[in-house]
């Protein structure tokens, strides 16, 4: 205990330089990760507030809280903020930024100044989008379908498009940084197949982002040009094709959804071995499945358009590839569960979130399969079934993984422990609240309740009331960690360098780490990843 306290007072990245400017002008990837954490937490609660307003409105079959115009803006802003300002940046720019250099044994990312610039670009993009919000919001849906967004909406479409366009550059900069770092800055002895799965998944994730984000950027530019100059790119009356927009948009957005789940899988792939005290089962299969998901994700965009007017044969091709991309995800789920088998499994909070992820991601993934079935999608498309599906993956998946990762690496990042009992209770509240919110939405969906409806037929009300009740519980579940983690930052018990006794280079540094991570570049000699055997003595395990 005394040693831990002594270590905490040592110079580390948090106390080395003081003052606001030392934070705003830092090039230390760990501090930049903290800057990002503030940003995405803010955006999360903003997007969550919009969700709460929507759920409250949906308590009644008729408009009671907000008008239809406002409701349409609520779901648009909820989607826009959550997708681009929370889900895509969350794990990569917070945990990824913090951990990638440490996990590969480097002193920082390849391009530290680019890293800082990416945060400013992100905040600029966020600022412009919030400007659009403050000026009155956008009502096109986060999907900006034409010709509604180009020729009919009277809201601040161009401003929102500009905000997202700018934020996209931040994503590209970060992803480029990660790819270069993982390729070229690994410590001596750290070959590809000794890397933690976190790195493999973040690498695949970054490759997707570098390739798909520019397509979104250009698509938004075309929407903006059309809106301002009215030149008919997507206007059928002037020879344009509104469905072309959908192809371009989903070519970006489908890989984008995988960039929201791959980082979550990255986190889970670290937590499960650590809390089972076992190497990742089927390591190579899991590593390659990340790459396979990245590659296949570019081949399935048309499954959002089965009833949009695309040809039957094209639809069949997209359905086929959609089934293919489910295979690597299934491989991951099986390997995670196999990792726990005959392990030494603890129930600490990160593991609770990880188990929750595996279960909920499985359900979300199965319903994704249902949507990939052509004959079923005709009925289920654009209903609450789809909403439930993607929330199971993104909230039951990514958000739970994010929380799990934050708890897992909290001792490393802050040098303190979080309160375990309260954390477990919060995890349970999140799990219960989540399922109560979103499971009824599957039923609503196959019963035929369409998406984006402010008012609905009375027979759907009971399910909506259940869902809103769940949302309130879920909200409480999210506010609790915000409170106790802030408390723990200042008053938590001091943490040792490796409180979980996990493998991985990040655990070889003090908690919190010094500014340059490693005084001496580590040399990796353990022949295999997650080498508990080789590190038995060091970790004091029997």
């Amino acid at each position: 205990m005394a040693q831990a306290v002594a270590e905490a007072i040592q110079k580390n990245y948090l106390n080395e330089k003081q003052g606001l400017l030392s934070w705003l002008l830092t090039t230390d990837h760990k501090r930049i990760a903290i800057l990002y954490t503030f940003s995405i937490t803010g955006f999360f609660f903003l997007g969550g507030f919009f969700a709460l307003m929507m759920r409250l409105e949906l308590l009644s079959p008729t408009n009671w809280l907000v008008s239809s115009e406002t409701y349409n803006k609520l779901f648009t802003m909820h989607g826009t903020i959550m997708v681009w300002f929370f889900l895509i940046p969350s794990i990569p720019n917070t945990l990824g930024n913090f951990l990638i250099p440490m996990m590969v044994g480097a002193k920082d990312l390849a391009f530290p100044k680019l890293n800082l610039a990416s945060w400013y670009v992100f905040m600029l993009g966020g600022g412009v989008t919030v400007y659009a919000l403050v000026r009155g919001g956008v009502d096109t849906g986060w999907t900006f379908y034409t010709p509604f967004s180009t020729s009919y909406s009277t809201t601040y479409v161009v401003a929102a498009a500009v905000g997202i366009f700018i934020a996209g550059f931040s994503t590209i900069m970060t992803s480029l940084n990660f790819i270069a770092t993982i390729h070229r800055m690994r410590a001596p002895g750290l070959t590809w197949f000794r890397l933690p799965i976190f790195i493999w998944s973040m690498y695949a994730n970054s490759v997707i982002l570098v390739l798909n984000t520019p397509v979104l950027a250009i698509t938004l530019v075309m929407v903006g040009v059309e809106r301002i100059a009215k030149v008919g790119i997507f206007d059928p009356a002037l020879g344009g094709d509104p469905v072309l927009f959908q192809h371009l948009f989903w070519f970006y957005s489908h890989p984008a959804v995988y960039t929201m789940v791959l980082p979550g899988m990255a986190v889970i792939s670290e937590i499960v071995p650590a809390f089972s005290r076992k190497p990742m089962f089927g390591y190579k299969a899991v590593a390659f499945s990340s790459v396979a998901i990245a590659a296949l994700s570019f081949l399935v965009w048309g499954h959002h358009m089965f009833v949009a007017g695309e040809s039957v044969y094209v639809a069949m091709a997209f359905s086929f590839f959609s089934f293919c991309v489910a295979v690597p995800s299934a491989i991951k789920v099986f390997n995670w569960t196999a990792t726990m088998y005959q392990g030494s499994v603890s129930w600490d909070t990160p593991m609770l979130y990880a188990i929750g992820f595996i279960g909920l991601f499985t359900i979300g993934g199965m319903t994704g399969l249902m949507l990939a079935v052509l004959g079923l999608d005709v009925h289920l498309h654009d209903t609450y079934f789809v909403i439930a599906h993607f929330h199971y993956i993104m909230v039951g998946g990514t958000v739970m993984a994010f929380l799990g990762g934050v708890h897992y690496w909290w001792p490393k990042i802050s040098g303190k422990m979080y309160p375990e009992g309260l954390a477990r209770i919060s995890a349970a509240i999140v799990f219960i609240g989540f399922n109560l919110t979103f499971f009824p939405q599957y039923v609503l969906g196959y019963l035929g309740m369409p998406r984006r409806y402010a008012a609905y037929p009375e027979e759907f009300q009971m399910l909506h009331v259940l869902s809103t009740a769940g949302a309130t519980i879920l909200g409480v579940g999210y506010v609790l960690p915000l409170c106790y983690l802030i408390w723990a930052w200042y008053y938590g018990r001091g943490a040792t360098p490796n409180p979980w006794r996990a493998t991985g280079l990040e655990w070889k540094t003090p908690s919190p780490p010094p500014a340059h991570n490693f005084e001496v570049t580590p040399v990796v000699t353990a022949p295999r990843p997650y080498d508990y055997e080789a590190m038995k003595e060091e970790l004091q395990l029997v």
Binding site: T181, V221, I233
Partner: protein, 216 residues
């Protein structure tokens, strides 16, 4: 330690070779990113060309093939000048580096001048899309679509050129103050790569906008 040597191996790297390789990976990834950006536009253009072949043919024929060809020759020459600059950098010859960088920038500026002249011509001839467009042929809408893509794609290219000139100016500055040496001239190599890429994009733009009008 000289400024150049510090820059050649910044804190996060173990050796200058590692830094150089990392910069290389970074720039190539960035170029892949740029390919996807222009690629989206090329794809949309192709879709509309396939569905409006006659109109796009007329649009192509209306392009100023002379200016387009001069511009192509100019850009190719500028890339050649830049290659000489890169060569001089390897030899460490500061004066020559600066000379060739300046030549590259001048040629780039001439390119932009000709481009904007062409744009002005299009405005005069009522071919600029939007309120300025005026065409009475039955294909008017589709011809406007051709010019929409022309302006967006060559406009995006011009933006990249302007940024490229800015990058070259930065490299020129660093050459003059002496931080580009035979040991460390990575920025010239990879900044140069960006310029070469922008040049290649132009070749494709020339091919899809100007050449079809020749009916070869």
């Amino acid at each position: 330690m000289s400024k150049s040597a510090t820059l050649a191996c910044r804190e996060q790297f173990r050796t200058p070779a590692q830094q150089r390789e990392t910069a290389s990976v970074g720039m190539w990834i960035f170029l892949a990113n740029e390919v996807m950006m222009f690629g989206a536009l090329f794809t949309a253009y192709t879709v509309y060309r396939a569905s409006h072949p006659q109109a796009f043919d007329i649009g192509s024929a209306d392009m100023n093939i002379m200016l387009g060809s001069i511009n192509t020759a100019l850009l190719l020459t500028s890339s050649l000048m830049l290659s000489f600059a890169e060569h001089s950098a390897q030899a460490g010859n500061r004066r020559l580096i600066a000379l060739f960088l300046i030549l590259t920038m001048i040629i780039g500026a001439v390119f932009l001048g000709l481009k904007f002249t062409e744009y002005y011509q299009h405005f005069q001839e009522h071919k600029a899309p939007g309120v300025w467009f005026n065409d009475s042929s039955p294909y008017a809408n589709s011809i406007q679509m051709f010019f929409v893509f022309y302006f967006i794609m060559t406009g995006l290219h011009a933006v990249h050129m302007i940024i490229g000139i800015g990058i070259l100016a930065g490299l020129l500055f660093r050459t003059i103050i002496g931080t580009m040496t035979a040991e460390y001239h990575t920025p010239i190599l990879f900044g140069g790569l960006y310029w070469h890429f922008v040049d290649i994009v132009w070749i494709f733009l020339y091919a899809i906008f100007y050449l079809p009008g020749l009916h070869l």
